[in-house]
Amino acid sequence: MPQDEDDEITASEITPKEVYLNRREFMAASAAAAAAAAFPELSGAESHGNTPLKIEKRSDYAEKEPPTTYKDAAGYNNFYEFSTGKEDVAALSKDLRVRPWTVSLEGLIKKPKVYDIDSLIKMFPLEERIYRMRCVEGWSMVIPWVGFALDGLIKLSEPDSKAKFVEFTTLHDPAQMPGQRREVLQWPYVEGLRLDEALHPLTILSMGMYGETLPNQNGAPLRLVVPWKYGFKSIKSIVKIRLTEQMPITSWMQAGPSEYGFYANVNPEVDHPRWSQARERRVGEFMKRKTLMFNGYAGQVASLYSGMDLRKNF
């Protein structure tokens, strides 16, 4: 077939801006992935099939303990929106659509705004934070999260003086999240922090782990990570962040008020009514080890709770 003789290019042939921008990102990502593949010892990361993220700073908050293998961290997940099992979440969540995605910042703030996930990710430099993660069930992991401290975003929204708490909400979409078709918990999943906990420098919004974007089963595209609290506080796939005056009623408080409190700080002295919290099994190990007060972050966070009865405020 002969080529077009005139030099005019039809509008449909021009690559749309989003596409070529994406392509640039894709090329940058491919270059990073290629570099990582060529010099794994330099980047310290191997690809797990998610998009690599540009990390500005790395901090280890797990006393040099090696991270849990990616396979275990991405293959053993509590995410009741998909299943109450832990090993089937990865398969059940693989088709979750994480683009387009918006996160609404609302409530008692002067600058409410609906953020597009891609612009939100670019608002602050990304950091890698290696944290211990302790599940309320008695197992734990060490995970290199990628994200940024939540306080920057909250301060930018200019909280009202009346704001005392932050309420987080997960996506509610039973068509995509089969676990939501049954009322195991009250949907959507809701979690909450006291405002000073949310502003604490250890509290992060995470969009990645192991140097790449989050796999769906770990809470893509955006989750909370609060390392001194039991894992269920670190809410996944967030669509809404709302500042409130009243303490939010979280999904687990609703499900079992005598078993799951608002604070849910890791505390080896305060047992779950049905099992001990004194010890935990680090995934990958045989024996259980002692659980640390505030999951080992007491030095940084204990002052948030001075004078509080932690047995009552469990």
């Binding site: 849990t68 396979k71 275990d72 293959g75 053993y76 009741y80 109450t84 832990k86 090993e87 309320v136 069930e137 197992w139 195991v184 918990l185 499900a255 079992g256 047992d271 049905r274 099992w275 001990s276 010890r279 099994r281 995934v283 990958g284 045989f286 024996m287 259980k288």
Partner: protein, 198 residues
């Protein structure tokens, strides 16, 4: 000489070891997932409960003419229940409590769930021991006591399971339902038996 019943029992005994063989095979190949210890504790616990229920069914359902043959499963199932319950307890004692008896006692004393587990285990062991020729020879076999032990053991084991689950009670409730059905069947057949001579 091996009677057909003995043959059936031997075959059943070997069959009942398949879950154990699977755990060993998967363990050696690192196919037990992120927390293999928990997988072993939970799987052996599941099978202990399943075999108690099977042992009970093998005793009570033989009154149905079509199910007479399952009577042969009673002893192997009871033995398997004891075997899996022992593995269940030993894995917990070793990996979770480092074989520390004071720690185990402390754990049980503060959590009712574990008292039910311990009670279930003791009763399974007693019920299984009561079927050994040595005990039968010395003190005879008391079927009513034996059945009572089995029913209480199963109830305790089911409660021990229900109390483990965080929120999704579907699986433990299936076991509870089977137990309830077996109990109801037993109660009905008892009533019929009592009424017959009248």
């Amino acid at each position: 000489m091996i009677t057909p019943k003995k043959k059936r029992q031997l075959a059943a005994g070997l069959l009942f070891l398949i879950p154990c063989a699977y755990l060993i095979w998967a363990g050696l190949l690192h196919r037990l997932g992120a927390d293999p210890v928990e997988k072993v504790i939970h799987t052996t616990g599941d099978w202990a409960l399943r075999f108690i229920l099977l042992a009970m069914a093998a005793r009570s359902l033989t009154t149905l003419p079509v199910l007479k043959w399952i009577a042969a499963f009673h002893k192997p199932a009871a033995g398997a229940a004891l075997f899996y319950a022992t593995c269940h307890f030993l894995t917990y004692a070793a990996a979770d409590q480092n074989f520390s008896i004071p720690e185990i006692i402390k754990d049980a004393a503060t959590h009712t769930r574990l008292i039910f587990g311990a009670l279930a285990y003791t009763l399974i062991a007693a019920a299984a021991a009561a079927m050994t020729p040595m005990i039968i020879k010395r003190i005879g076999f008391n079927p009513r006591l034996h059945n009572a032990a089995a029913y209480i053991a199963a109830t305790c084991a089911a409660a021990h399971y229900v109390w483990l689950v965080k929120k999704d009670l579907r699986t433990p409730l299936i076991y509870a339902a089977i137990l309830a059905a077996l109990s109801a069947y037993r109660a009905i057949t008892k009533v019929i038996e009592v009424k017959k001579p009248l």
